[in-house]
Symmetry: C2
Subunit: 307 residues, 2 copies
């Protein structure tokens, strides 16, 4: 088993969907990534920052999921990052209502010493300067996975490109891949992104699944068709966490095993959207995950006879 360093936000979210709304609940990219990675018993450490207003019980929750939190800085006099958003009826688009950076504004990440030799690094979505800071603290990572979004393309493109040049895998959604490359075809876009650095490109298409590209090879994982998506918040992070966690746990970073990691991430993401925030991921049982993976097999595996 490989160690896994997770950097990203640990935050409060307030969410409104057609099904209801929440007060401030536990959220943040590193939270979803960590909870997902814990499902496959990866040895994960969270590198992030929260304020004095962050409840002890949330930290206990992360610890209970076997996540190392010695790299989770608590700034007593500061306030925790807060995001609030409202989803439209189609659940594919949302408006951000509030973004309060708070302690995140001057975040200087510190990777715990006993995780600086980790083989796998998962850079969750936040400022590219922070992601870069984490990469620089790692001794000899074998697999660095980057998640990012259009906000950083709009505001800190040069810095983001520097991060992209240093990672092995990038996960990005379809519109962002098009924005980053100016190419409509995702096949062409993925090739351009590979030229920027990453040997592996994962393009997330939400309800339309995810594509994994490597050299001339392509793998596709569908999203599980659902009667109802309750809250999409954190689904992309959960996918990335399941992906990185699966790879860290197995220690096999081949393209063939990445296929399994993509399916694992997709399975966990399909749970995430069933309830608000982290509610469905917390205490998710191995048996439930096992059954969901079987559903993915049923959904995608066939046995055509090639003459």
């Amino acid at each position: 088993m490989s160690k896994l360093v997770i950097v990203g936000t640990v935050a409060f979210d307030a969410i409104e969907t057609p099904f209801g709304k929440t007060d401030k609940i536990l959220g943040g990219a590193a939270t979803f990534i960590g909870l997902a990675a814990s499902q496959c018993n990866a040895d994960g450490a969270i590198v992030s920052v929260v304020g004095g207003d962050f409840p002890e019980e949330y930290i206990a929750l992360l610890k209970n999921h076997d996540l190392d939190v010695s790299g989770l800085e608590v700034i007593k006099e500061g306030k925790t990052f807060f995001w609030s958003g409202k989803y439209h009826n189609d659940m594919n688009t949302r408006d951000t209502l509030v973004t309060e950076l708070n302690v995140l504004e001057n975040f200087d990440p510190k990777v715990p010493e006993n995780y600086q030799d980790a083989e796998v690094v998962m850079l969750g979505n936040l400022h590219p300067a922070v992601q870069l800071g984490v990469i620089e603290q790692m001794k000899a990572p074998k697999l660095v996975v980057l998640d990012t979004m259009n906000f950083w393309m709009d505001h800190t493109l040069d810095l983001l490109k520097e991060v992209i040049s240093k990672v092995d895998v990038i996960t990005i959604n379809d519109e962002e891949a098009r924005q980053l490359t100016g190419e409509y075809s995702l096949v062409t876009a993925s090739k351009k992104i590979m030229e920027m650095g990453p040997a592996y490109v994962v393009i997330k298409k939400g309800e339309h699944g995810a594509l994994l590209f490597h050299k001339d090879e392509i793998f596709f994982a569908p999203a599980l068709p659902l009667e109802e998506v309750f809250d999409p918040t954190g689904a992309g992070d959960t996918f990335a966490g399941g992906f990185a966690g699966y790879l860290a746990k197995s220690g096999d970073f081949s393209f063939e095993n990445m296929k399994n990691a993509i399916i694992y991430g997709s399975a966990l993401a399909s749970f995430c959207v069933e309830k608000f925030g982290t509610e469905r991921l917390v205490g998710l049982s191995k048996k439930e995950v096992h059954k969901r993976l079987q559903q993915f097999q049923q959904l995608t595996q066939f046995d055509i006879e090639l003459e």
Copy 2:
């Protein structure tokens, strides 16, 4: 091997895409369905109508693909159905420029006597009254597959619903499934459609693949990710033709074999869009299809170890 009756348009198409435009070329739902079905050596017969302006060489082309054309009526004094369309830059939407029904207006389909005992019927997209006329001529079909579109929902909904109540499989695109049922979720929509008659519902999502529903089971086939879609005309018909042809050839109408049929149809559709009209399907070799099916295996098959 089962016999396959194919009803649908045999037509002239004039197509404009960002890559170029054509004069009147061979088109029509039954044409694409027939060419696709011929790939798997199904014993197919085309039931359709053309005018005196329809070239002998096109009829010879269908015959050369082992299609029975004794049910292809030629009305000497009439003109062949003509459709002209222009695709937008994203290739997902198009404007119809011209629709001339011509001989199709009073089409009274006649299934050749030696195909009235066929096990499989593929009702290509055209007026529901014609589709109904074909169903009534069949003695004891084991599998009736229906393809249709929103035009008939808008104009002849009651008649279309009568056809839907009599078929085993319906293929329909995602927006049409939503229009027909008033449901946004495709899972919920498929359940409502199954209540209308068909035991199997295939929802086509274009570049996002296709879903097969039966009772509580779901299968998903992706579209092959392509650098460039040259001309989408006929892709849906080719998919349906590959699907019905595969089932007719194998004589196995189980859900598990329908998975293979969906993959087969998807593979043929991925060829169709590479050139204008039927150009890529004509003379497509078994070897090419075999290689494409292997690509679909690479694209979708994984080997995750379930603990």
